[in-house]
């Protein structure tokens, strides 16, 4: 399969790209996403400071307004937070964390949810009932309660938050995959594959799954945005990430108290960055929804 | 007698991303009063779009780009949306192909019928209901009063199609356009519907355009037949004539492709090749690539020729001794 073929207009990827390409809004959003992703990946090379290293922080520099200079002459373009962290560095690192949390938890939840959803749809019966009841239960439980319990069980930390988010998200995917797979399962091509003696795992993964992908991509995209928001909310409620390694959400939450006392930059800048990030992911996801929905896609 | 409908040089195009799609291209025909006209042609040849063009229901990005549609002498294309709405359902009715999809699944049959009555006539609900019930009776639905309050899913396909026909009959229109109304149905049910329609058209004196790709059905029903190919009418004439002595090579190709045309077990005689993509139709005769008789001249536009009992567009028509 050549690369060109992958991007052929009829292929999934091709449709993604041409679909996004046709909306200027989506192009801008996609570019923003890519820039932010890039910034997150090369973060440590971009920032003047490692904001996670307590030894380089100095509370003498705390709450400096944007543009101030540090003791040793470094410029804090976006100011510093209460611990004397350079806001710019903290935001880039926070972006890393937030995106990482969002993408990673979204991805794992997608895989777990997809597998369980496929199993539920294809085998039906008791397995289906069992999985779907668990899904209902999961969707019914408040995120915070789940997160808090996990936090208590496992201790605090990045991976635990990710784990909690996975636990909360997989059910959404499972439900979506199941409903898509239920439709696909009854299509003749599945029966044709059965007739041809193709084994069940192969049918599930090679035949049914690819046809369930479009809604999944969309939900996945939006879930990443959701997860980033959710992590921020958890941090706001004080059960998120380690405080010495703040995510965007934690930065906002930390600065929240200071918002009214005039030290706006501590909360507003990360807030704006979070907004831009989630907003552009949502715009891209939205566009994908339009493109990948065969009934709504451009004729 | 003036014809009920006179379509002159109708062209309906779809402005798609990939280019202009000429779904209906310079089509002209007339439908006389009480006449049943069959419109046949293969899938995608523009039959439905012709029907929708008449009713002014072509969905964007489609548009009637030129021509005239004279209904009882008035040009429908110049009418305002409100005026068109007053005509639709009242004087021209349409029946769609798929009986499962034409009725709104969440509204009762009564609602869907009564609203049609009340959309055109200022009558009380009770009266509208009575008229609806009578219409259901007309199309042969047993105990119409009780069935009125049913929902579409409670009917079988054949009965739903009969409900659609009853709706079309509510205002005794001058013209009914039936777009493949029996394609989705069984042979036995199809023949019930054909029977019903034919009886009612006769009874009410309605004209009928019957769209189908089943030559057999049209043969059984219509007075006149029009054959479409790639957006154009390639041959039109009395049913008996066209089916026994087809002039256009496409018509004759169609007729000889049916199984009954050759002895049992013999190979069938399909028309070779495929219809051109509607987006890239060659200029000139669209059929020439598949036509055994084609010559260089076919690359130019064939004119509509009008013979005694026949109209056709072809440079090399079959000339039957009778014609």
């Amino acid at each position: 399969m050549t690369v060109r073929a992958l991007f052929a207009e009829d292929m999934l990827l091709g449709r993604l790209f041409t679909g996004i390409g046709r909306s200027p809004k989506a192009v801008v959003a996609a570019i923003v996403c890519i820039i932010l992703l890039f910034a997150a990946v090369i973060g440590p090379y971009l920032t003047p400071q490692n904001p996670f290293d307590l030894a380089v922080l100095d509370i003498l520099d705390s709450k400096l307004p944007p543009g101030s200079q540090s003791m040793d002459g470094m410029n804090y373009w976006l100011g510093t937070d209460g611990q004397g962290r350079d806001m710019f560095s903290a935001m880039i690192y926070g972006l890393r964390t937030s995106l990482g949390v969002g993408v990673f938890s979204g991805l794992v939840a997608l895989i777990v949810g997809t597998v369980l959803g496929l199993i539920a749809a294809y085998f039906g019966g008791r397995i289906d009932t069992l999985i779907m009841r668990v899904v209902d239960l999961m969707l019914g439980f408040p995120t915070i309660l789940v997160a808090l319990m996990l936090l208590a069980l496992l201790g605090q930390g990045l991976w635990k938050v990710i784990f909690a988010l996975i636990l909360v998200q997989w059910a959404t995917f499972a439900r979506a995959v199941r409903s898509a797979a239920l439709v696909e399962k009854n299509k003749d091509y599945v029966e044709a594959a059965v007739t041809l003696g193709i084994g069940t795992p192969r049918i599930l993964i090679g035949h049914i799954l690819p046809n369930c992908l479009p809604p999944l991509i969309v939900i996945g995209m939006l879930q990443v945005a959701n997860a980033i928001s959710a992590e921020a909310t958890l941090s706001f409620l004080g059960i998120g990430l380690p405080i010495t390694e703040p995510s965007l959400g934690l930065l906002i939450a930390n600065g929240y108290q200071l918002l009214m006392s005039g030290e706006y930059w501590i909360s507003v800048y990360p807030g704006v960055l979070l907004l831009v990030l989630v907003f552009s992911i949502n715009i891209v996801g939205d566009r994908l929804r339009e493109v990948l929905n065969p009934r709504l896609g451009e004729r | 007698m003036t014809p009920v409908l006179e379509v002159k040089n109708l062209s309906t195009h779809f402005m798609t991303r990939r280019g202009i799609l000429k779904a209906v291209d310079d089509v002209s025909f007339t439908v006389g009063q009480r006449e049943i006209v069959g419109l046949v042609g293969e899938s995608g040849s523009g039959k439905s779009i012709t029907g929708f063009s008449i009713l002014g229901l072509v969905d964007p990005p489609g548009r009637v780009v030129s021509g005239q549609i004279l209904f009882n002498g008035e040009d429908l294309l110049t009418k305002s949306p409100t005026a068109m709405r007053a005509i639709r359902g009242k004087r021209i009715a349409m029946i769609f192909q798929d009986p499962m999809m034409t009725l709104n699944p969440v509204l009762s049959v009564a609602t869907q019928m009564i609203e049609t009555v009340q959309a055109h006539d200022r009558v009380s609900r009770a009266e509208a209901r009575a008229r609806s019930r009578d219409a259901l009776g007309l199309v042969g639905i047993p105990s119409p009063e009780e069935r009125l309050d049913s929902y579409p899913h409670q009917f079988s396909g054949g009965m739903r199609q009969r409900v659609a026909i009853a709706i079309a009959l509510l205002h005794r229109p001058d013209l009914i356009i039936a777009d493949e109304p029996t394609t989705a149905l069984d042979v036995t049910i199809q023949s019930q519907i054909l029977f019903e329609i034919k009886r009612l058209a006769g009874e009410f004196g309605m004209a009928l355009i019957w769209i189908s790709h089943d030559l057999g059905v049209v043969a059984a029903l219509a007075d006149r037949i029009m054959v479409m190919y790639a957006g154009r009418i390639v041959e039109a004439g009395q049913v008996d004539g066209v089916l026994t002595t087809p002039v256009h090579p496409y018509t004759s190709g169609l007729l000889s492709a049916v199984p009954a045309a050759v002895p049992r077990g013999e190979p069938l005689r399909p028309i070779p090749g495929f219809a051109p993509s509607p987006l890239s139709r060659p200029s000139g005769c669209a059929f020439r690539d598949r036509c055994a008789r084609a010559t260089d001249i076919c690359a130019t536009e064939p004119m509509l020729e009008i013979a005694a009992d026949r109209e056709f567009r072809c440079f090399h028509p079959h000339l039957w001794s009778a014609a």
Binding site: R133, S229, T233, L275 | E115
Partner: protein, 324 residues
């Protein structure tokens, strides 16, 4: 219908049991309620007395079965903190939350459906673009941030609206609610908006998608062919079809709004059950958490039940009682 009710009932019981078990284990995992509750300087005798009176000295499974036994008799236990029946604590605050969520929901619907129709009927127009892009905001802003901004703008800077608590209560037809006084209404506006922004976006989107999916269907064209007015087509034919997904989602969302009003209630000091929940989790007030979840889950179940019934009213094809 009977079958439907029976099935629902049995499933509900199973769900409720599982919920209770999870909460018991969960709270046990988080911490020791006694540690949170009892003054640290209490003497061992005092401590033992309180622990015993709360039943915390027994093994977890025994506590669970005591709870289950009492629950069967309609007693969901007394709050560790308030020493009052947890169920009455919840019912005391449920009206405030219901008031908030329902107002939020109504707001989302009243605004969302027309906007959704507007953009769905004119896809890709400028109006559509504006509405759709705007609706993304609803998804993008974390709820707590929205709430903060609302307070900053409308109460602190502009001083138009109060930012905390529930206003004065009025009485109407025997119902007590802050909906019936001006003061109450002004208090309700900001939290209701905060809670409904997300749902508003959702409703807009659902409606728009519904319109766009329904408009090309044959029956719409058939209705046009019958000469029905465009208004009736949109508001009767199309709308009733859109209602189906809308009802499902609204049902789900009402449930989640109820459960997740936590953030809004925290920010706006709204005396509802969301705040009670977070406080109770923080204080490890297990009877309240259990009772809360049981009530919420029951409410979910009830809402789902209503949704299904509504569903069958709107969509005649759906029959209650058929297996899923």
């Amino acid at each position: 219908m009977t079958v439907f009710v029976i099935r629902r009932f049995l499933q509900s019981i199973a769900v409720l049991i599982v919920t209770a078990v999870i909460v018991f284990i969960g709270i046990y995992a988080i911490g020791d309620p006694a540690e949170m509750l009892i003054a640290p300087d209490a003497s061992p005798a005092e401590r033992a007395q309180v622990v015993a009176s709360l039943g915390l000295d027994k093994p977890l499974w025994e506590q669970f079965f005591t709870f289950a036994w009492n629950a069967l008799h309609g007693d969901l236990g007394r709050s560790f903190v308030f020493n009052r029946p947890s169920i009455s604590l919840i019912f005391e605050r449920l009206p405030a939350t219901l008031e908030l969520t329902l107002t939020g929901l109504v707001f989302a619907l009243l605004l969302g459906i027309p906007l959704g129709l507007l953009s769905g009927l004119k896809p890709n127009s400028a109006t559509d673009e504006v509405i759709m892009t705007g609706s993304i905001f609803g998804f993008s802003l974390p709820s707590f941030w929205q709430g903060m901004m609302l307070i900053m703008i409308f109460s602190v800077w502009l001083g138009w609206l109060p930012s905390t608590g529930r206003g004065q209560m009025g009485e109407f037809l025997g119902l007590h609610s802050s909906l019936f006084t001006l003061d109450g209404l002004t208090h309700l506006i900001l939290p209701a908006i905060n809670l409904s922004l997300f749902k508003l976006s959702l409703v807009i989107r659902l409606t728009r998608t519904g319109v766009r999916e329904t408009m090309p269907l044959d029956f719409v064209k058939f209705a046009r062919a019958k000469g029905i007015s465009e208004r009736r087509i949109v508001f009767v034919h199309v709308f009733k079809n859109i209602l189906i997904p809308l009802i499902t989602v609204i049902g789900l969302e009402l449930g989640s709004m109820l459960a997740f009003a936590v953030v809004t209630e925290t920010i706006f000091a709204w005396p509802g059950i969301g705040k009670l929940l977070i406080d109770s989790i923080m204080r490890l007030d297990r009877p309240v958490v259990v009772a809360y979840l049981l009530v919420i889950v029951s409410l979910f179940i009830f809402i789902n039940f209503v949704v299904d019934v509504l569903y069958s009213l709107v969509d005649p094809r759906v029959r209650l009682g058929g297996a899923q």
